[in-house]
């Protein structure tokens, strides 16, 4: 009996493994598991999710502004907002109100939080040579928001507030505290083990989307590659940066150049807009 059982088990396991070897690209088997109750997604639900995202993003923005001071030059801030909002008009997710601000620090970077809060440092502004480069940095950050990278990674959405949800919480007896503890524990684990990998793919996707956004708005799409090249030059010698969250700059620049060649963007000759840039930023 045992021998026959073993033989049967081996067959049961061998058949799917052979299938594995034979099939290459195949439609994702998981999709037929989805039941119709998962499809219901009303606009009201989506709006509440966006509200939750804005609330969350606002908290993240408050953290960033807890670390760096706002650079209070009104003229420069308005300029950054004009460029940023011009890009935002040509990007999806116009239900969000994008806000842009300058951080008073010499470090060279730009940041975004979900819900449309975008920051750029004085240090980064100082390395730029024209408005298209400013647009490139802002476009990359806008892309993170429109692609919902953080929303998806952290699964941010509105909590249910109806009676059934309340009952579900009560009956489960475990509900929010367990969920929070679990999420945080997993989040920490994710951060340590895997976060590097996932966010690197996000960065490459944001780069590509930024280039398309620049072109759709009318700015020179090569500006992002130029800007990253300059950042790489500025940073190159002194800092040994661990590439935890971003792919190395050289890899990103190479990917952008490939993409640009494939899309024949160099032939566009879209403007860089440098005169007005120097006017506003007094450089």
């Amino acid at each position: 009996m045992t021998h026959r059982l073993c033989a049967a088990l081996i067959l049961l396991v061998a058949i799917p493994l052979m299938d594995l070897a034979v099939h290459t690209v195949q439609a994702d088997a998981g999709r037929f598991h989805t039941r119709v109750s998962r499809h219901a997604e009303s606009p009201a639900d989506m709006r509440r999710d966006v509200e939750a995202e804005i609330r969350f993003g606002r908290d993240v923005a408050a953290h960033i502004l807890g670390r760096y001071h706002l650079y209070n030059d009104e003229k420069q801030t308005r300029y950054v907002n004009l460029v940023g909002k011009a890009l935002a008009l040509h990007a999806p997710r116009n239900e969000l109100d994008f806000h842009f601000a300058i951080l008073d620090t010499d470090s060279i970077n730009a940041y975004s939080a979900p819900g449309g809060y975008v920051f750029i440092t004085r240090g980064l502004l100082n390395t730029m040579q024209d408005e298209s480069e400013l647009a490139a940095a802002l476009a990359h950050e806008i892309a993170h928001v429109t692609l919902r990278h953080v929303v998806k990674a952290l699964n941010i959405h509105a909590a249910e507030t109806n009676a059934q949800a309340g009952m579900a919480h009560l009956l489960s007896g475990f509900g929010d505290p367990t969920k929070a503890a679990f999420t945080q524990a997993v989040g920490k684990a994710m951060d340590i083990l895997f976060n590097g990998g996932l966010s690197k793919a996000d960065e490459l996707q944001a780069d590509r989307t930024a280039v398309m956004l620049l072109a759709a708005t009318g700015y020179d799409p090569g500006a992002l590659s130029r800007l990253l090249g300059r950042i790489k030059h500025q940073r190159g010698q002194h800092t040994r940066i661990l590439h935890k969250t971003h792919p190395p700059l050289s890899e990103r620049i190479a990917a952008l150049n490939n993409f640009s060649a494939h899309m024949q963007l160099a032939a566009l000759n879209y403007p860089r807009v440098s005169e007005r840039f120097h006017e506003y930023l007094g450089q």
Binding site: D59, A62, L65, F100, Y111, A113, D202, A267
Partner: protein, 192 residues
């Protein structure tokens, strides 16, 4: 292959796009134009078969429908946010749609398969400063890691800072510029 959680419609598109793109890029990097064309058309037909007859909606404030999937091509039409465009074909970065009796191409970035939402803002201004409502405040652990930067930060992400400055956020939010002013500004710069 990591387990994916398609919480929203765009994730399904993205999965298919990612699969198609991987194949496309592999062949593209070999620099053989014929192969590229062949694979592009195979991917397109696979993607079409998968996506099926669909309508996409314009998500950006406005979009130009172009004669071919190239920013240099002639503008066939201009459409506004919310326009429903029946989908004919798609590639990684462009979609072919029908509009007013003709067809044209739009960057995929600008469209999505659900209608765009009206503007969403927080009714209560999301004020945390006064209430110190610990339950409502998301944990520092989760918001901490949530900023995305342009380049790698040598040290920890700036949003890992535990203090929060809401008055600065309010100041940031207070700057309002209407769409007309923004567009005028843009036209002056890029002259299109």
């Amino acid at each position: 292959m990591r387990a994916k959680y398609p919480a929203r419609h765009t994730d399904k598109e993205q999965d298919r796009r990612d699969a198609a793109r991987t194949i496309l890029i592999t062949f593209t990097s070999r620099g053989v134009a014929m192969k590229r064309l062949l694979i592009t058309s195979v991917c397109m037909s696979l993607a079409c078969a998968a996506w099926g007859a669909q309508t996409v909606y314009v998500q950006s404030m406005q979009a130009k429908i172009l004669a071919s999937p190239d920013f240099k091509a002639a503008t066939v039409a201009r459409v506004k946010r919310g326009a429903a465009l029946p989908l004919e074909q798609q590639t990684d970065d462009w979609v072919k749609v029908r509009y007013a009796g003709t067809t044209g191409w739009v960057p995929r970035l600008l469209v999505s398969d659900t209608a765009p939402l009206d503007e969403v803002s927080l009714i209560d201004g999301g004020d945390h400063a006064i209430s110190h409502d610990v339950r409502r405040r998301p944990s520092a652990v989760t918001t901490g890691g949530a900023a995305r930067g342009l380049a790698e930060d040598g040290r920890s992400r700036p949003s890992n800072e535990l203090t929060q400055n809401y008055s600065a956020v309010k100041k940031m939010e207070s700057l309002e510029i209407d769409d007309g002013t923004v567009l005028t500004f843009l036209q002056a710069g890029v002259k299109q």
